[in-house]
């Protein structure tokens, strides 16, 4: 077990170090628009994947929660529109994330009584409620969004120099990744995975399933809150449109494309999403009105559909299957998310993937 943990840290460290060199290799535009966006969008997707992979709850409500954090932050600092309370940005970040966690706990308490599809739809309803709330309460959302939001001094002006924001996002992503991997090895995390797999048994063993699920939702909300704040740093503004249903679907797409049960998938999916978004305009051939530079959504929808049909484990799942096959392993074995509990995830083409059954990866 110590071996694995060390490998995890080494692995993470290598990846972070490589990414840290990014500003020296790539253009400013690439660092700013592709990489930084991939990082914070990845954090948002990570909140979804944490819940789906480790707690067995696929939630569409993460965007709503990140909206709460984003709006609380934007309103608490000096900005154009909104409440313009003009607190210190550092304090505002803390309060924003705290607000998100609070909202997350409330949502979690209400939603934890439902499962599977019902849970998905209730969380979707949450995101929509948050969206409508902010659209209507214009004191909080400004009349065209909250613009020119003041950012913490550490970040400076991303318009002029995107590098500090990139490093902050990188640090946040790395911390969250490491944090979640640590959390799932704690007793709490293990209980959560137990609940994901066999809720009835866990209940019989005396665990308070509802409480654990609610707390898990709270953790997911914390991660989503960080994503929300990072998104405001990135855009320097926020408006209800930033947290509408399209955005919720986008985060879901990112998570599924990356790999719904693999934490790394969050950032991989976000990167792929960003690359397609930006470069599809130049390289998509025009096929009548069906395909063309403006048809980004069709492209991403097709990628999403293909992934769901062929590989429930997302891109990371595909990679692992290829790797396993090339090593000549006879029957592909389960690739674990975590050392201690193996998660069911079969190559999709041959058998229905229990991974995507309602309630979680194992039936």
């Amino acid at each position: 077990m110590t071996d694995t943990r060390r490998t995890t840290w080494i692995g993470t460290g290598v990846a972070v170090a490589l990414l840290a060199l990014a500003p020296l290799i790539f253009t400013e535009y690439f660092v700013s628009v592709i990489l930084t966006q991939a990082l914070w969008l990845g954090v948002a997707a990570a909140s979804l994947i944490f819940l789906s992979g480790y707690a067995g709850m696929v939630s569409l409500g993460q965007v709503g929660i990140y909206g709460v954090a984003g709006f609380v932050f934007a309103n608490l600092v000096a900005a154009d529109g909104g409440l313009d309370v003009a607190l210190s940005p550092y304090l505002a970040v803390v309060l924003a994330v705290a607000a998100a966690v609070l909202v997350g706990l409330v949502f979690g308490a209400v939603a934890c009584r439902s499962e599977g599809i019902y849970f998905l739809m209730i969380t979707l309803a949450f995101s929509v409620i948050i969206y409508y709330f902010f659209s209507q309460v214009t004191q909080l959302s400004g009349f065209g969004g909250v613009n020119s939001v003041e950012l913490p001094g550490l970040i400076g002006d991303p318009g002029a120099d995107p590098v500090p924001l990139f490093y902050v996002s990188l640090a946040a992503s790395a911390l969250i990744y490491a944090g979640i991997r640590y959390l799932v090895r704690t007793p709490f995390g293990l209980t959560l995975q137990g609940i994901r797999d066999e809720p009835a048994r866990m209940r019989a063993l005396g665990y308070n399933v509802g409480l654990h699920k609610t707390l898990a939702f709270g953790v997911g909300a914390l991660v989503a809150g960080v994503a929300g704040v990072l998104s405001v740093f990135y855009n320097q503004r926020i408006s209800p449109g930033s947290v509408n249903i399209s955005q919720a679907i986008d985060v879901l797409v990112v998570a599924v494309v990356g790999g719904l049960y693999r934490l790394e998938g969050a950032w991989i999916g976000a990167l792929v999403f960003g690359l397609i978004d930006n470069y599809s305009r130049e390289y998509t051939p025009e096929i009548g009105t069906v395909l063309g530079p403006d048809r980004f959504n069709t492209l991403i929808g097709i990628v999403f559909l293909l992934i769901v049909l062929l590989s429930p484990g997302g891109l990371v799942g595909i990679w692992e299957q290829l790797r396993a096959r090339s090593r000549g392993v006879g029957r592909t074995r389960m690739a674990g998310l975590d050392a201690d509990v193996t998660v069911g995830d079969t190559p999709a083409a041959t058998a229905p993937a229990p991974a995507l059954k309602e309630g979680g990866p194992r039936r």
């Binding site: 990846a15 253009t27 154009d80 009349f143 318009g159 503004r237 790394e264 390289y283 692992e320 690739a335």
Partner: protein, 471 residues
């Protein structure tokens, strides 16, 4: 355990693979547009002196104002075509060849497409200004978009932004950034003359207003409220259906039956639905009791519901039936470039404002001889002093770089088989503050602002110059 180490390595390799892929893509794709990496954000000096000036255009191709997309683009293209450029295709969004201004080539890097929302507008702005590296932008189109782009402009002082036709008051009055220019009035200015008309000619003493729930209708109806209330009228009810809402039935139910009149500020394609549903619930439109803002005389709207609003009064910054040499030449130029259909839209605020903004830009570029170095300061200084002789009147800028121009009260009539707006009177030199009613400190127009208070009468009330049909 070994499998675990293996899987870790897998994803590390995967991440590296992805990065490598991204690097290759970025490297190949960004060739023509890459600036020196890791350096500052300034322009490449050699390009400033002799290379083409990169122009971006932003308007809406989705949402309530989608039908005007090509009209907007025509408004930008035709001033260049008048000076020798050639249209690259039948549609304005196909682009231009040989466009020049200030002695330098003008390259249009993209005709951006937003959907009436600030988010999409900012996304497109960033793509055009940062990925396509445009120097100057003409746009955006709608109210909320204008405020967002003006704020973006504030954060990017080294680029210049000429408003397309966004009419939200705040974009200039509150944001007030030296690199954002609006060569036309805001929405409130486009309603000038109606308050006067309603009070003095139609005899209204109380009124209700209804408009979409976002910044442009707030501003547009604020113009009516400011004028109507200043001279003694009372606005007793304000109704704001959500933008994009197409089911107006509940909102129509809220219109009080005991007011003297209703001022309608619903825009674009929503207006068509609104009028139809209004007629279902309240019967035919009585021109003595209902007036509309600048969306009513729009050719596309009149085509759909002209017969239902026949005889009603409205106001707009253009006079479609003007026969002055400037007006006829304006329409003729557009027809020459893109044909009768687009020319039919020439009097719409969309085409007219994009056109005048581009005219001003070309004038200023000529004046500074195409110099956009030094953070475009010279160009911005020149623009602040530029005036445009528009087809329907002269346009100058005030000290927040907002347009001061004439406005027109018009009546919807049927002429020669089609419905059109016949100009009734010209309201001279309308300016943004409405004689101090609006200042940078007054609350921005919204659901309940401006308050209906009697106050200083705007200078143009009672000075409407009557216009005989066809002059």
């Amino acid at each position: 355990m070994e499998k675990e180490k293996g899987s870790r390595r897998f994803w590390v390799l995967l991440v590296v693979l992805m990065l490598a892929l991204g690097a290759v893509v970025a490297g190949c794709g960004g060739d023509d547009e890459e600036q020196s990496s890791g350096g500052g954000s300034g322009q490449d000096t050699s390009q400033e002196a002799t290379g083409p000036i990169r122009l971006a255009v932003l308007s809406d191709c989705e949402g309530a104002f989608a039908p005007f997309f090509e009209a907007d683009n025509a408004g930008v293209n035709v001033p260049f075509i008048n000076r020798g450029a050639k249209a690259a295709g039948a549609k304005p969004s196909d682009g231009l060849t040989g466009a020049k201004a200030g002695g330098r080539d003008i390259e249009v890097v993209g005709y951006g497409c937003s959907d009436d929302t600030a988010d999409k507008a900012i996304e497109e702005t960033r793509r055009l200004m940062e990925q396509e590296k445009a120097d100057i932008m003409v746009g955006p189109l709608s109210g909320d978009e204008g405020i967002a782009v003006a704020n973006y402009a504030k954060d990017h002082p080294e680029k210049t932004f000429i408003n397309g036709t966004s009419g939200a008051q705040d974009a200039t009055l509150k944001v007030n950034t030296p690199n954002f220019f609006r060569f036309h009035g805001d929405g409130a200015q486009w309603a000038a003359g109606l308050g006067d008309y309603a009070y003095n000619e139609l005899g209204w003493r109380t009124a209700a207003i209804i408009g979409d729930d976002y910044s442009f209708p707030y501003t547009s109806l604020a113009g009516f409220v400011a004028e109507f209330c200043a001279i003694g009228g009372k606005v007793t009810k304000r109704i704001w259906p959500a933008l994009g809402e197409k089911d107006y039935s509940s909102f129509i139910s809220q219109i009080p039956r005991d007011v003297d009149g209703l001022m309608v500020g619903i825009g674009g394609t929503g207006l068509v639905s609104f009028i139809k549903q209004y007629r279902q619930q309240r019967g035919d439109i009585d021109p003595q009791k209902i007036i509309g803002n600048n969306f009513w005389p729009d050719p596309v709207i009149l085509k759909e519901i002209g017969s239902q609003i026949n005889g009603a009064y409205t106001a707009q910054p253009t006079a479609p039936d003007a026969t002055t040499p400037e007006a006829t030449e304006y329409v003729a130029n557009i027809e020459k470039a893109y044909g009768k259909e687009v020319a039919g839209l020439a009097p719409s605020v969309f085409l007219y404002n994009y056109y005048n903004g581009t005219e001003a830009l070309i004038k200023a570029l000529d004046q500074v001889k195409g110099d956009i170095s030094g953070g475009q300061k010279a160009l911005q200084a020149a623009l602040a002093k530029t005036s445009v002789q528009g087809a329907y009147g002269n346009i100058t800028l005030d000290d927040t770089r907002n347009g001061v121009a004439d406005n027109f009260v018009a009546k919807i009539v049927r002429k020669g088989g089609a419905y059109t707006a016949e100009t009734v009177s010209r309201i001279p030199t309308v300016e943004q503050t409405f004689a101090g009613f609006f200042t940078p400190e007054t609350p921005a127009p919204d659901r309940s602002n401006p308050k209906c208070e009697k106050g200083e009468t705007p200078p143009w009330v009672g000075k409407a110059e009557e216009v005989t049909p066809g002059s």
